[in-house]
C-alpha cells in the first residue's frame, strides 16, 4: 500500500520544492514576502469589527469603476455626434454591454453612499484626531474627487438628462467671483456646449480625476498604515491580525455591496419574469435618454439623486436674487467643506468633537431632508387628489386670479381668503408636479423612440442620432402640431370619451387619422359633416360640401350604397392609405364617380374632368403627402381655397427677407405624422397606419 503511493508523494514533494524554489528566487529579486506580510499582517487593536469595513468597500468600489470604466472606454467615443451613439451601442448591441454599464452606473451611486458611511464612521469614532489629521484631509480630497467623477460622468452619454443637468452645473460654476466665467469657459471648452465639452469632461472623468484619486489614495492608505487602525474605544476583545479576520469581514462587505449593485440592475428582470413579460437586456442597468438637443426643452431635467439636495437647496434662496444663488451654490457648500477641513483641529477638544459629530449628522440629515423635499415636490401630484381642489380652480377661472375679485367671491371673509390662498398654493404645487411627471413620461417616450430609430437596419447616419430624431415624424409631428395647428385643429380619436368636448372647442376639423377610411366615412356622413369634428366650426359649415353630403349624397336613387363605398375607397386610395384587396376592387368605380361632372366633379377637379381649379379643392392626390404639404404651405393656392380659405395661415410662405412659420421639412414632418407615416420596426404595426415611409 505504502509503496504504491510513494511515487505520487515524491512528485508532490518535487512540485512543492520547485514552487518554494521559484518563490525564494522571486522573493530575493523583489522582496514580495515582506511586502505581502506588511500588507496583510497589520495589527487590529481589539480585533476585527464590521465598523472598519467602509474604507475597504470604497477601495473595492473604486477598483470596480476602474475595471468597468476601462472597458467602457474601449467602446466609448467622446464627440457630439458619437457619444450618445456609442453608449447606445454599448447598452443595446454589445454583448454584456448593459451589464458592464449597469455595474459602472450603479456602483457610482453605491460609492456615494459608502462615502457618506465612511465619513460618518470616521467622525463619530474621532478617527481624525492627532496624529491622523493629514489623513482626514486626504480623505476629504478623495471625497471631492469622487463627487467630481460622479458629476463629470453624468454628461458622457450626451443624452438630454445629462446635457441639461450639466448646463445648470456649469452655469453655477460661472458664479464664482471674478474667475467664474473663465472657469466655466474652460470646463465647457468654449462659449458653447459641444465636442469639447465632452472631450474635456471625458478627460477629467477618465484621466485627470482618477489619476489624482489614485495618487491621493496611495497617500491615504500609506498614512493609514503608518498610524495604524484607529480602534473604537473601549477595547474589549483581544487584538487580531488584518489577515484573515478583518479581511473576511471586508470581503463579506464587498460581496454585499456587489450583491446590492447586481440586485438593482437585475430587479426589473425579475419583475418581468414574474409578470411573464420578455426581458429586454438593454433596458436593464443604466438608462439612456434621448440624444442631447440644445433646441429641445427638457422639463424633466434633474441632477442624479445624490445631488438632488443641492438642487433643492437652490430653491431655499428664492427671492434672494444673485446673492441667494451665490450663497446656495458656492458659499454654503464651500463653507461646509471648510468646516470639515477644520474638524481635526476642533476635535482636539471634547466639545469640538461633539460639534463635529452633530455637524456631520446635521449635514447628512439636512441633505436627506432636502432630497426628500425635492422628491416630494416632484411627485406631489401622485399623492394628492386634484379633484379636491376643483372649487379653487373654479374660483381662479372665474376671477382670472385677480386678488380683489377673489376676495369678493369669498365674501371678504379673511379666514376663507387665507384658507383659499393656502389651498391655491397646494394646487399650484400639484400643477407643477403634474408638469414634471408628464415631462418625465415624454422623456421616456422620446428616449424609447430614439433607441428604436437607432436600431433601424440602416443604423445611425454619420450626422448622429439627433438628426434621426429631428427628422422623425412620430417625434416631431405632435410637437409641431401642438405649436402650430392645435389652436384650431383637434387630433383626437373620436371614439374616446370627451372627444366631443375637445372638438367643440376647436375651430377647424379634427385631423385624427386624416385621409384614412374612417375619416373619409365621417366626412361623407350627413350626421357628421356639419359637426365640430369636420366643418361645423368653420366658415364652410353651411357651404356646398355640407349641403351636398346632407342632401344629394343621401338620395338613394342617385347614390347607391355600393357607389358611396366606392367613393370612400377611391378617396382613401388617393391618400395612398387604402388597405385590403377587396376595397381596392372598387377604386376604379369610385374614381369614375368622383370625376363625373354630375357628381363630385361638378365642383372638384379630378383626373380628366376639366373642372376648373379654384372652386373646390383639387381631388387629384387628395390626402397624399404632396397634397397635405401643399395645403399647409399655402391653403390659398389655386388647388385648395383661393377665395374661401377660412383663417388657415399660409405656413410655408414668407415675405421678402423673412422666414415662413414652418420650413418645408417641418411641413413634411407634420404631413407624414398626420398620415401615420413613420418608421416602425418589423412586427410592430400598432404604432401607425401608412407603410409608405422611405
Amino acid at each position: 500500500m505504502t509503496d504504491t503511493h510513494s511515487p505520487d508523494r515524491s512528485s508532490d514533494a518535487h512540485v512543492s520544492a520547485g514552487t518554494r524554489g521559484l518563490g525564494n528566487w522571486l522573493d530575493s529579486r523583489t522582496g514580495y514576502r515582506a511586502l505581502l506580510k506588511s500588507a496583510l499582517y497589520e495589527r487590529v487593536p481589539g480585533g476585527a469589527r464590521w465598523r472598519y469595513v467602509w474604507g475597504s468597500t470604497l477601495v473595492f468600489a473604486f477598483m470596480t469603476q476602474v475595471i468597468t470604466g476601462l472597458v467602457l472606454w474601449a467602446s466609448y467615443s467622446a464627440s457630439a455626434q458619437t457619444a450618445w451613439e456609442s453608449v447606445y451601442f454599448i447598452q443595446y448591441e454589445m454583448t454584456g454591454g448593459w451589464l458592464l454599464r449597469g455595474i459602472h452606473h450603479v456602483m457610482a451611486q453605491a460609492m456615494i453612499v459608502l462615502l457618506a458611511l465612511h465619513v460618518m464612521q470616521v467622525v463619530i469614532d474621532g478617527a481624525y484626531r492627532a496624529p491622523r489629521e493629514v489623513n482626514f484631509w486626504l480623505g476629504l480630497v478623495l471625497m471631492t474627487l469622487v463627487l467630481g467623477m460622479a458629476l463629470t460622468g453624468y454628461l458622457l452619454p450626451w443624452d438630454q438628462k445629462g446635457y441639461w443637468a450639466t448646463r445648470v452645473a456649469t452655469n453655477l460654476a460661472g458664479l464664482v467671483p471674478l474667475i467664474g466665467p473663465s472657469i466655466q469657459q474652460l470646463v465647457v471648452g468654449g462659449p458653447d456646449y459641444g465636442h469639447h465639452t465632452l472631450t474635456r469632461f471625458f478627460a477629467l472623468h477618465a484621466g485627470f480625476l482618477p489619476a489624482t484619486l489614485v495618487l491621493f489614495l496611495v497617500l491615504h492608505l500609506s498614512l493609514f498604515r503608518k498610524h495604524g487602525l484607529h480602534a473604537k474605544q473601549p477595547i474589549t476583545q483581544p487584538d487580531a491580525m488584518f489577515w484573515p479576520d478583518q479581511v473576511l469581514k471586508d470581503a463579506v462587505a464587498m460581496l454585499a455591496v456587489m450583491a446590492v449593485v447586481l440586485g438593482v440592475i437585475l430587479l426589473p428582470a425579475l419583475r418581468a419574469i414574474l409578470a411573464g413579460e420578455p426581458i429586454i437586456s438593454g433596458h436593464l442597468g443604466a438608462e439612456l435618454g434621448a440624444p442631447a438637443d440644445p433646441s429641445e426643452p427638457y422639463a424633466a431635467a434633474r441632477p442624479e439623486w445624490y445631488f438632488l439636495f443641492l438642487f433643492q437647496f437652490l430653491k431655499v434662496f428664492e427671492g434672494w436674487g444673485a446673492t441667494g444663488e451665490f450663497l446656495g451654490a458656492i458659499v454654503v457648500p464651500g463653507a461646509t467643506l471648510g468646516v470639515m477641513f477644520l474638524m481635526p483641529i476642533l476635535g482636539q477638544w471634547k466639545l469640538g468633537h461633539r460639534f463635529n459629530v452633530v455637524f456631520t449628522i446635521a449635514i447628512l440629515s439636512g441633505a436627506g431632508l432636502l432630497t426628500a423635499m425635492a422628491v416630494h415636490e416632484d411627485y406631489y401630484a401622485l399623492w394628492v387628489d386634484r379633484s379636491a381642489f376643483a372649487d379653487v380652480e373654479k374660483v381662479l377661472e372665474s376671477t382670472g386670479g385677480d386678488s380683489d375679485k377673489i376676495a369678493a367671491a369669498l365674501g371678504h371673509d379673511e379666514k376663507k381668503i387665507a384658507d383659499f390662498e393656502n389651498r391655491r398654493h397646494k394646487l399650484e404645487a400639484i400643477r407643477r408636479s403634474e408638469a414634471f411627471l408628464s415631462a418625465v413620461k415624454q422623456a421616456g417616450t422620446d428616449a424609447d423612440r430614439a433607441i428604436e430609430l437607432a436600431g433601424r437596419p440602416e443604423k445611425i447616419p454619420p450626422t448622429g442620432a439627433l438628426s434621426l430624431v429631428r427628422s422623425d415624424p412620430l417625434t416631431q409631428g405632435p410637437r409641431l402640431f401642438a405649436q402650430h395647428c392645435a389652436s384650431c385643429h383637434a387630433h383626437v380619436d373620436p371614439s374616446v370619451e370627451g372627444a366631443e368636448q375637445v372638438f367643440a372647442k376647436g375651430s377647424a376639423a379634427n385631423l385624427f387619422e386624416f385621409g384614412g377610411e374612417s375619416w373619409v366615412r365621417g366626412l361623407l356622413d350627413p350626421k357628421q359633416v356639419a359637426s365640430a369634428a369636420y366643418f361645423g366650426n368653420t366658415a364652410h359649415s353651411e357651404g356646398d360640401m355640407v349641403s351636398f353630403v346632407s342632401e344629394d349624397f343621401t338620395d338613394k336613387d342617385v347614390w347607391k350604397q355600393a357607389d358611396k363605398e366606392a367613393v370612400v375607397f377611391a378617396l382613401v386610395e388617393e391618400a395612398r392609405l387604402l388597405k385590403g384587396a377587396e376595397s381596392k376592387k372598387l377604386v376604379k368605380r369610385g374614381r369614375e364617380l368622383i370625376a363625373d361632372t354630375d357628381r363630385c366633379g361638378s365642383c372638384h377637379p379630378y383626373r380628366e374632368n376639366e373642372t376648373e381649379l379654384g372652386y373646390a379643392p383639387d381631388l387629384n392626390g387628395w390626402g397624399s403627402t404632396e397634397w397635405v404639404v401643399g395645403i399647409i404651405t399655402d391653403p390659398t393656392h389655386q388647388r385648395f381655397y383661393p377665395d374661401t380659405n377660412d383663417r388657415m395661415p399660409r405656413f410655408g410662405v414668407a415675405s421678402e427677407g423673412g422666414l415662413p412659420a414652418l420650413t418645408r421639412e417641418q411641413i413634411e414632418l407634420i404631413s407624414s405624422w398626420l398620415r401615420g407615416s413613420w418608421y416602425r420596426p418589423k412586427g410592430n404595426d400598432k404604432a401607425g397606419r401608412a407603410a409608405d415611409h422611405p
Partner: protein, 186 residues
C-alpha cells in the same frame, strides 16, 4: 591636527559642491518640465480665446406669424453653427418668445434661456405666465419676475427688427446666468 585643519575646508568644499549640484539638478529638471507643462497649459486655455462672435440680427419669422394679441409665441433661432471641427448649416441654436400687442406693428422678443441657471423656460398658457421647469422661476408674459423667484433678474429681452416687407429678425445673444445684471457673453 594637520589632518583636521585640512578636513574643514574639504567639508565646506563638498557642501558647496553638493549645493551647486543640487541647485543645478533642480534647475535642469525644472527646465525640462517647463515645455510639457507650458504647452499643456497653453493649449488647455484655448477655450478662453474663443468667442461666439458678435451678436447679429438673424431672420426669425414673418410679422403675419405673430398675431397682435399680446400672446407670446415660441420661435426657434436658426443659424449656421460651428462646433469645434463640425460645421452645421441652418441649425436651431436657441429659441425666443415673440409677442405683439394689439394694434401694434412692433414686436418684443424674450430669450427662452432662463436667466437663473440656463434651462429652457416654458410658456404656461393655462396659468398665463412663463415657467422654468428646473427651479420653478416664474415670469410674467412681459418677462418680469414673479416673486418669490430663484431667478435674480427678469427674462432677457432681445432687440428686434421688423422690415418694411414684414420680416421679423432678432439680435441673438447669450447672457451670463445667475447675475442681477444682464451681461452678454462674448
Amino acid at each position: 591636527m594637520t589632518v583636521e585643519s585640512h578636513q574643514e575646508p574639504a567639508d565646506t568644499k563638498t557642501k558647496r559642491r553638493s549645493f551647486l549640484t543640487g541647485a543645478l539638478a533642480i534647475l535642469c529638471g525644472g527646465l525640462a518640465t517647463v515645455p510639457p507643462f507650458g504647452a499643456a497649459l497653453w493649449a488647455f486655455l484655448d477655450p478662453l480665446r474663443r468667442s461666439s462672435g458678435a451678436a447679429t440680427f438673424l431672420p426669425l419669422t414673418d410679422l403675419t406669424n405673430v398675431p397682435a394679441d399680446g400672446q407670446p409665441r415660441q420661435f426657434p433661432v436658426i443659424a449656421d453653427r460651428v462646433d469645434a471641427w463640425t460645421g452645421f448649416k441652418a441649425e436651431p441654436i436657441g429659441a425666443v418668445y415673440v409677442k405683439r400687442e394689439e394694434g401694434s406693428d412692433r414686436v418684443e422678443a424674450l430669450s427662452a434661456t432662463c436667466p437663473h441657471a440656463g434651462c429652457f423656460v416654458e410658456l404656461d398658457k393655462a396659468a398665463g405666465c412663463f415657467r422654468c421647469p428646473c427651479h420653478n422661476s416664474s415670469f410674467t408674459l412681459d418677462g418680469g419676475i414673479v416673486a418669490p423667484s430663484p431667478s435674480p433678474r427678469s427674462m432677457d429681452s432681445l432687440e428686434c427688427d421688423v422690415s418694411k416687407s414684414g420680416a421679423v429678425s432678432v439680435k441673438w445673444q447669450n447672457f451670463y446666468s445667475g447675475t442681477e445684471e444682464k451681461v452678454a457673453r462674448k
